[in-house]
Structures are given as structure tokens and as C-alpha cells.
Point group: C2
């Protein structure tokens, strides 16, 4: 349970966060001391001890720059040490390792709390409006888990005759269909002669205005 911080402790925590954001690593005791005009490293250490006790940070013993900001502290807007950056892939194919993919167009930071173990995930920008009734709009980023294990009703990314498509997956009695979520499009029955494969299933969507 996180208890209230004193004003000074809060200042110091905010400084650690902003230093870390700016520099990419945590400040040392002496850097904190210098910023606050504190002459003694022990004075800083007292504050860090208090912040640790109150659950805001973790400091490993005798490790330089070992201040780690804990996730989900009381602070309402914060930077934490837990995040995931996924590649935005412009083209995908089934079975190709993501790492071998040469069509990375950028990266997208997402909350790893929603990503299952393993890092065979990627992001894909939506083109087209065939899935708008599922709340999937053109320009959305889909977060996709690379897999070919799908269940009826899953939203999948599939490869069909050289094209990538996002649709609901349906397999009834061995007949595979890709079902749009837009009444302006018809379901696609996957012919036995089609070049068809599942690239992955949807984990989430991110849309930015």
C-alpha cells in the first residue's frame, strides 16, 4: 500500500522520472544531490530509502544507477520500465519469422500487459473498410499474434492468393470462409485451389486521431 510522500520525496521521484526519460538511464546519487543542492550522498540515500519503503522505486544493492521506478505507482502520469515496441509490418506472409521480415515500416509502443508470452507479435496498419462493423477502421493499427491456430469467430490476418486480408475466420465442416464485418462486402469462401494461409490473430487495436 503506497503511503503519501513528503513534498521533497515527490520532487525527487519526479526528478528521477524526468532524468530517466531524458537520458535513458537513472541518475546517480551524486547527480540527484547536485540537482537539489544536497551536499551529502547520504542525504539522498535517505530519500531513496523512504521511496523504496513506500513502494515507489526499487534500488538494487551496490549497483550504480540501480534506481528502478515501479509500475503502477500512485503517481497518475508517469513513465515506467515496462513497455513493448512492435514492428509495423507493411507486408506479411504466413510462416515467415517476424525477424526475417524486411517490410518494417516503423514501430508501435504498446502495453505489454495485454500481450501474451512470447514476442511473435507485430503491428499492421489497416487498409480498407471491410471490417468497420467490428470497429476496425482504415488507418487503425492491429496488434497481431503470429499463429495459425485459430478458432471460429476470431479476427484473423490471412494470406489469400497473394493478398493480405483481415476478416472473421469461419470453418464449418471443413469449408473455410473469411467473413467481413461490413454489409457492403460478401463472405469469401476459400477454394481448395486457393493459396491460403493464416498469418495471425488479432490481439488488439490502436487508433490515433
Amino acid at each position: 500500500m503506497k503511503t503519501d510522500l513528503t513534498d521533497r520525496q515527490k520532487e525527487i521521484l519526479d526528478f528521477i522520472v524526468s532524468f530517466r526519460t531524458e537520458r535513458g538511464y537513472a541518475p546517480s546519487l551524486r547527480q540527484i544531490a547536485k540537482h537539489f543542492g544536497i551536499a551529502s550522498t547520504n542525504g539522498v540515500k535517505r530519500h531513496l530509502d523512504a521511496l523504496t519503503k513506500k513502494g515507489h522505486i526499487t534500488v538494487d544493492n551496490n549497483i550504480s544507477r540501480g534506481i528502478v521506478i515501479n509500475r503502477d505507482e500512485e503517481e497518475v502520469v508517469s513513465y515506467t520500465d515496462n513497455f513493448l515496441s512492435l514492428p509495423i509490418l507493411g507486408r506479411v506472409a504466413a510462416g515467415v519469422p517476424i525477424e526475417a521480415n524486411q517490410y518494417k515500416e516503423g514501430s508501435l509502443v504498446v502495453d505489454p500487459a495485454f500481450i501474451p508470452s512470447g514476442n511473435n507479435c507485430f503491428a499492421l496498419k489497416v487498409k480498407g473498410d471491410s471490417m468497420i462493423d467490428a470497429g476496425i477502421f482504415e488507418g487503425d493499427y492491429l496488434i497481431i499474434k503470429q499463429t495459425n491456430e485459430v478458432t471460429n469467430g476470431d479476427v484473423v490476418v490471412a494470406h489469400l492468393d497473394g493478398e493480405v486480408t483481415v476478416k472473421y475466420y469461419s470453418n464449418r465442416g471443413g469449408i473455410v470462409s473469411l467473413i467481413p464485418a461490413n454489409k457492403n462486402y460478401r463472405p469469401i469462401v476459400v477454394g481448395v485451389d486457393s493459396q491460403f494461409s493464416i498469418v495471425g490473430t488479432i490481439l488488439g487495436i490502436t487508433r490515433w486521431y
Copy 2:
């Protein structure tokens, strides 16, 4: 322009990333050396020099644990040092500083590339289906910028007679309306006697399955 890494360089970069994810701070030269069975810190330094030259990392001079992984490197799945964690607020009111808000229900990591300067943003979980035609579904997380400067057509979070609502904003000739995006709901004309205020406007949406 990032050039290809040797196998060894790639291994070392991957180690730095995973160490950093696990521990919350970068490894030291000696910790890298120990992992790879390299007896000399200079051997490690050579690799770090090469990674720096190829644009994958930045190492500040004479700074302990000063290895910073650069964003958007060639690596297709990676952890970076640039992310933002927003509070998920259960209740919001106009004009109340986010930091003073006591209804934080969790946090949501988002990509800061899509967030404008300043950190008066928060996340809100959607209840209801009044905006489904705008691709906003129950359970979605909205990323909201706290502001009362709105434009016709913006999706806003508003406070109306004690309730929080998400709707399109419309102001025609001084008559303010909140327009749903679901034909099952009627537009709300904001009466002059209503307690009404704008909490913020939408920046993005995140949905997880």
C-alpha cells in the same frame, strides 16, 4: 543508415535489451563480459563501439550503465526507452487536474509518438455503445487530452448533469449538442440550465481482445 550487424554484435544487442527489460537498467561492461565469457572489458567495448557506430545504441562517455538503446532500430521486435504510461481514470470531471484525481483504476502504456506535448492526458474505459459507428466499443480505452478547446466534429468527453459521456461535439449558432454515433440514440441538445462542461477530446483508442 543502419548497416548489418555481425552475429556477435546482434547477440550482444539482444542481451542488452533483455537484461534491461528484466532488471530495469542497462548492463555494465563487466556484466556483458561475464555473460559471453569475454575476459576483457576492452573486448566488450569494441562491440559497443561498433553498435554505436551502426546507430543501434548510444553510450555516454564515462557514465556507468550508460548504454541507451535507440528507438526504431533495424531490430524488428524490441524494447525502447520511449513510452508513456497514462492513468486509467474511473471518473472524471472538467477542470480538475489529473494529478488531483483520486479515481485512478490502473495504468495504460501508450506510444508517446502520438501524444502531443504536455502530459495532461489520461485513459478512460468506455461504458455503453452510443459511439459504435465511430468505431468506439464498450471496453475500449480512450486516450483523452484534457482540454476544453473543442471543434465541431471532435469526439469529446463531457460532463453533463453529473454524468460522463463520450459523443461528437456540435455547436451550431451557440446551440451545443452531443451527437451519438449509433442510430439507436438521439442527439442530446445541451440545455442552458444543464450542468455541462468539456473534460477533454479524444486522441486515440486502444482495444484489447
